[in-house]
């Protein structure tokens, strides 16, 4: 959900600093950024010129499987997969991967809905709450579970999720919590309540996620209400509380990493995986799942109904559920996967980090946001009025 490392910020900044003339910054930064952003995708598109030609040295594993197509179109968050996953998949199956990235969920959702069957992509990564709507709209096709044998690696709590019984249409990819983080260098206190996001001491140093469901959920937790409520009276109470908070807010943004790394915020409403990505720039960043409760979410892997390469798509999902591949993904991006078999390969520092991998005792305080259909309007109208 966050803008996951839009670019290699530190590199960009370092080069921008080299130019003593500030005006040169944009030009230099622009040059670097195109070079920098090429690195994550270097393992994708153009990296395997010969892959679509002769079969690779490693043959496709079980020979009983149908022959996969030569190409695969993947559409995922930027910086949301292991460094070498794409290359390893290409080498294993001899399938050329065309790997496309989106910066925010709404862009992706609008695109795959544009023709009602996925806009030519094979695999995509929607949030779990979107799955019921996408299934009923016919945007997804059922998974070929006989090709996804690694589904047995999933932890028991993920094998039959409420949003998609038996994972018939989607496979869980990564999950997170939404709490808030603060810079331990500037805020010494131990924080544990959502109330801190209303503390006037942090006026102008506070950022909230630019995601109305997440923001309303914070107000709901403070008021002891259900974050999935559609009751107008309750929503009015929530928005009144948020109106009170707004003068303190520096910005509503999904770039929670950017506002903490850039120093604009000392305290920020944030996604847990993004906090992991902040360590480099803000070494003393702290994260809490507040005591009043918090949102838990997960992203899934799906095959779109218009997928031109459905077999390759199912093989891709199977590949990403492999214990070692899943662990490599987690080790690179800092989001926990639902893969129980992967745990032994995950960096112990991540497993021991309660930010990324919270104590399961907390899980009952976590609420998943549900798709609300046209009742969503009650939120968007209040959200727009709040921000206007």
């Amino acid at each position: 959900m966050a803008e996951r490392r839009i670019s290699r910020r530190s590199l960009l900044e370092a080069v921008a600093k080299v130019g003593p003339v500030v005006a040169l910054g944009p030009i230099i930064a622009a040059c670097t950024s195109s070079a920098a952003s090429a690195s994550p995708s270097a393992s994708s598109a153009g990296a395997t010129p010969g892959a679509s030609g002769p079969a690779p040295s490693t043959p496709a594993e079980p020979s009983a499987e149908p022959t996969p197509e030569a190409e695969l179109n993947v559409y995922n968050w930027d910086a949301y997969i292991g460094e070498n996953t794409v290359k390893e998949f290409e080498e294993t199956y001899g399938i050329r991967v065309i790997y496309d990235k989106f910066p925010d969920a709404s862009t992706m959702m609008a695109k795959i809905r544009s023709d009602g069957k996925g806009a030519g992509y094979d695999v995509c990564y929607p949030t779990s709450v979107e799955i019921p709507a996408l299934v009923s709209e016919g945007v997804l096709q059922p998974l070929k579970l006989d090709l996804i044998r690694n589904a047995t690696n999933l932890g028991a709590e993920w094998s039959n999720p409420g949003y998609d019984p038996n994972n018939a249409n989607s496979m869980p990819y990564m999950w997170w919590t939404t709490g808030y983080c603060w810079n331990g260098d500037t805020i010494a206190e131990e924080l544990d309540s959502w109330e801190s996001l209303w503390n006037p001491a942090y006026s102008g140093r506070l950022s909230m996620l630019d995601d109305y469901r997440e923001v309303f959920a914070v107000a709901a937790f403070r008021l002891g209400l259900d974050p999935n409520t559609t009751d107008e009276g309750e929503l009015d109470q929530m928005v009144a509380l948020l109106e009170e908070q707004k003068p303190l807010v520096r910005t509503y943004t999904t770039d929670d990493i950017g506002v903490m790394a850039g120093g604009q915020a000392d305290i920020a409403h944030a996604w847990s995986g993004d906090v992991y990505q902040m360590y480099e720039d803000v070494p003393n960043v702290r994260y809490v799942i507040p005591k009043e409760g918090a949102v838990r979410g997960s992203d899934t892997m799906v095959v779109l109904s218009g997928a031109p390469h459905p077999i390759a798509a199912n093989l891709w999902i199977n590949f990403n559920l492999d214990a070692e591949v899943s662990a490599a993904n987690t080790n690179y991006i800092g989001y926990m996967g639902p893969n129980a078999a992967a745990r032994e390969f995950i960096d112990p520092a991540i497993l021991e980090d309660p930010t990324v991998n919270p104590d399961l005792g907390l899980v009952d305080k976590l609420v998943e946001l549900l798709e609300l259909g046209t009742d969503t309007d009650k939120y968007t109208q209040r959200w727009n009025a709040l921000k206007a």
Binding site: V22, E137, K246, G263, Q264, T376, W383, N384, A385, A388
Partner: protein, 304 residues
């Protein structure tokens, strides 16, 4: 040889007395010649506008699909709620200030290039357009890196000891207007350059010969004669500025929401196309009215 001459030489069409182009010009009615332009306008401007208008009258069923059976103006009533007025005012305010700054900065630049550019005019104009070689998004991100609290500018000012706490630059009116002015300045300079470059400088000399001061000659000769360029530059700046959502989104903050940003929320996460269309149509109406007023003023000023 033209085709006509060739065919005439071959003796196939003895009637070909005049070149083909001349005969075409006589026989092809004017309407046909403007057809490509009209078609372009119809397909890429009027049709989308009509679609947006029809969608803005529609409603949605429970599974978020558009329903056209009961068209109404409800979405417009909703879109003009007083809570939204500040966002519309913000849009107009940012666009107006940006336009003013673009003209104020662009006019001297265009004037200088035209009068003193000499042999390097083309090079200078290419330099004006140089930023377009990089994506606007990337350039806006670069501004974020410059303006943020521990960014390039604050770092520099702190190093030389001018300030000891970072200035709050990002997420303010200042950063939004800076970003927009930076982004739209080339759009203002080019039409200003054209109208200043076309100005017959003998007129200015004549004014000076008649004892006008430099200031008076500028105010009474140069400025009125370049007014069409100023209006064109204003429109090329104001129109995209009022609909710009990238700059306020990236450089703005919690207190700087614009109407375009609201439209974006409605279309993407909100998935309320009718309501978003109504808001978008209102925004466009504001732009059209502004343009119309500007053109009327121009016509009065230049043609009496």
């Amino acid at each position: 040889l033209t085709t006509a001459e060739r065919t005439a030489a071959a003796g196939a069409t003895p009637a070909a007395g005049r070149p083909l182009r001349a005969r075409l010009a006589v026989h092809v009615p004017g309407a046909l010649l403007v057809a490509p332009g009209v078609l372009w306008l119809a397909v890429f401007f009027l049709a989308p506008l009509a679609i947006i208008f029809v969608v803005s009258l529609a409603s949605r069923n429970d599974s978020n699909q558009l329903v056209f059976d009961s068209l109404s103006l409800n979405n417009y009533a909703e879109a003009t709620r007083p809570e939204y007025v500040p966002a519309f005012l913000n849009s107009v305010r940012y666009a107006a200030i940006t336009t003013f700054l673009c003209i104020a900065l662009g006019y001297p630049i265009a004037y200088w290039i035209s009068r003193h550019g000499g042999r390097r005019k083309v090079l200078l104009l290419i330099l004006v357009m140089l930023p377009f070689w990089t994506s606007y998004l990337i350039r806006t991100y670069a501004w974020m890196i410059i303006l943020r609290d521990n960014g390039v500018l604050n770092g520099f000012l702190q190093t030389i000891g001018l300030i000891d706490r970072p200035l709050i630059l990002l997420n303010t009116d200042f950063s939004v207007i800076l970003g927009m002015t930076y982004g739209f300045l080339p759009f203002a300079i080019l039409p200003l350059f054209v109208s200043i470059d076309r100005l017959d400088h003998n007129l200015v000399h004549a004014a000076r010969d008649l004892y006008a001061s430099g200031r008076a000659a500028f105010l009474h000769v140069t400025l009125p004669l370049t007014l069409p360029g100023i209006v064109a530059a204003s429109m090329l700046t104001f129109i995209p500025a009022i609909g710009d959502y990238v700059t306020p989104d990236l450089l703005g903050g919690a207190q700087t929401t614009t109407a375009a940003k609201m439209v974006q929320v409605l279309f993407s996460t909100g998935r309320d196309w009718p309501y978003g269309s109504a808001l978008g149509f209102l925004l466009m109406l504001m732009t059209l009215v502004g343009t119309f007023v500007a053109l009327r003023t121009l016509r009065r000023e230049t043609f009496g």
